[in-house]
Subunit: 248 residues, 2 copies
């Protein structure tokens, strides 16, 4: 979804549709029925990052907030360093997902975001997005929706307390998110080491390893290093106590 130079606009729009069809940024335009001119104006402010590799940073904590990012390929992790100098993994970001939304408020990034493998991102300068939102009806509301969605998405994780609950919650969450972007929901390739999974789930690395083995022994998953096949998602779901989805 790189910005075009002007000619062959029609082609660009087709390319845009292909690459972005599974991207969260598309929610900024498509569903609100923006017209052709509005989509083009929006597209013009989006650029692509260079290719990043394992360990490269998209941005670091404290950097001034200039853009909203959408993962284009690969996986990222966001983290902060705590008072003891230890890393605290906050989340993982899959293709099509947005990153950096927490930084609008203080104008500076609140966490660092690092590539876990070969990865790239789309960059949407926030000031321009902000200006556009003021002039394109519906865009403003869509941005608010995206932010709100981000808030709601943090709720379910809080519910799981035991190692097995957290682990199955993690696998199911990953599976669902991959599915939403058109990937397999049963064959997952973890792009992060066990250490990062453990850190994210607030468990010891050894515990992650043991829980995965337990799940495998039960016949719920098949583990081959970082490849995980979900065999019995129903069993995994019965582990997590997450929100029942019903109104109360």
């Amino acid at each position: 979804m790189s910005s075009a130079t002007g000619q062959a606009r029609e082609l660009d729009l087709r390319e845009l549709k292909r690459v972005c069809s599974n991207c969260s940024l598309k929610e900024l335009c498509v569903p609100m029925g923006l017209n052709r001119g509005e989509v083009e104006r929006l597209d013009k402010v989006v650029e692509a990052s260079r290719s990043l590799h394992n360990g490269d940073h998209l941005f670091r904590k404290g950097d001034p907030m200039r853009s909203i990012y959408a993962v284009r390929s690969g996986t990222f992790k966001s983290y902060v360093i705590n008072r003891d100098g230890e890393e605290q993994v906050i989340g993982f970001h899959l293709p099509g997902e947005l990153v950096g939304l927490d930084a609008i408020h203080p104008d500076h990034h609140q966490c660092s975001v690092m590539a876990l493998d070969t990865a790239s991102a789309c960059i949407m300068p926030f000031s321009q997005l902000s200006e556009l939102a003021a002039s394109i009806p519906g865009l403003q509301r869509q941005i608010m929706r995206l932010l709100s969605k981000e808030i709601s998405s943090m709720v379910p994780r809080a519910a799981d307390t035991t190692a097995e609950e957290r682990m199955s919650g993690f696998l199911l969450d990953l599976s669902r998110r991959l599915g939403e972007r058109g990937y397999s929901t049963s064959d997952l390739r973890l792009s992060m080491p066990r250490k990062d999974v453990a850190n994210y789930l607030r468990l010891a690395t050894e515990t992650v390893s043991r829980v995965l083995r337990r799940f495998q022994d039960e016949g719920w998953i098949e583990v081959d290093r970082r490849d995980i096949r979900i065999v019995d998602s129903t069993a995994l779901k019965s582990m997590v106590k997450g929100d029942d989805g019903e109104a109360q």
Copy 2:
């Protein structure tokens, strides 16, 4: 900040300033330098809830999202019911804080919000706020900031893993938030039972009780039922591993 009938507008603005001086909703107008007419337009869409009592709901999960709420007095808790039919406390909401921001995205509330004592809230109909945002420069951006702030606020809690870390983190967070609204940072009155604190921190009620006792034995706090005095906040701070606040 109740809507006036028209006359004595000057008085209303003074009353508005008094009641709302510590309120998060004020960030929607004051800092962006809205002019007098804009503030009045904003004020006109805000109304106050009736008085609520312990156990009353501000809204329930699944309710259509019509408004953003700001706690005016008292305390609220937000929660969901999990698949086992157990309550999961998501958070507590103090005077001046916003509630319901997670519901913009799916148009329905994602959790239930209940009063813990005698409480009331300001109600800002979202459709009208949305319309105003389209016509008042800066308001749109302020709303985004509030949403973004909400996202960042969920990060630090994730870091604490042990019961003592969570408990001191909870006390310090409460102390800070009360301080931000002009209350004492050392003398806290918990308006929620131990059970809710425990649930929120994902601990057993007994563990909460024991950790509080341990803190008291160390001379860090004084506990008298739901009144807690923070004697040595430095000691408490040394317990939590939260984000170091520095750029990386």
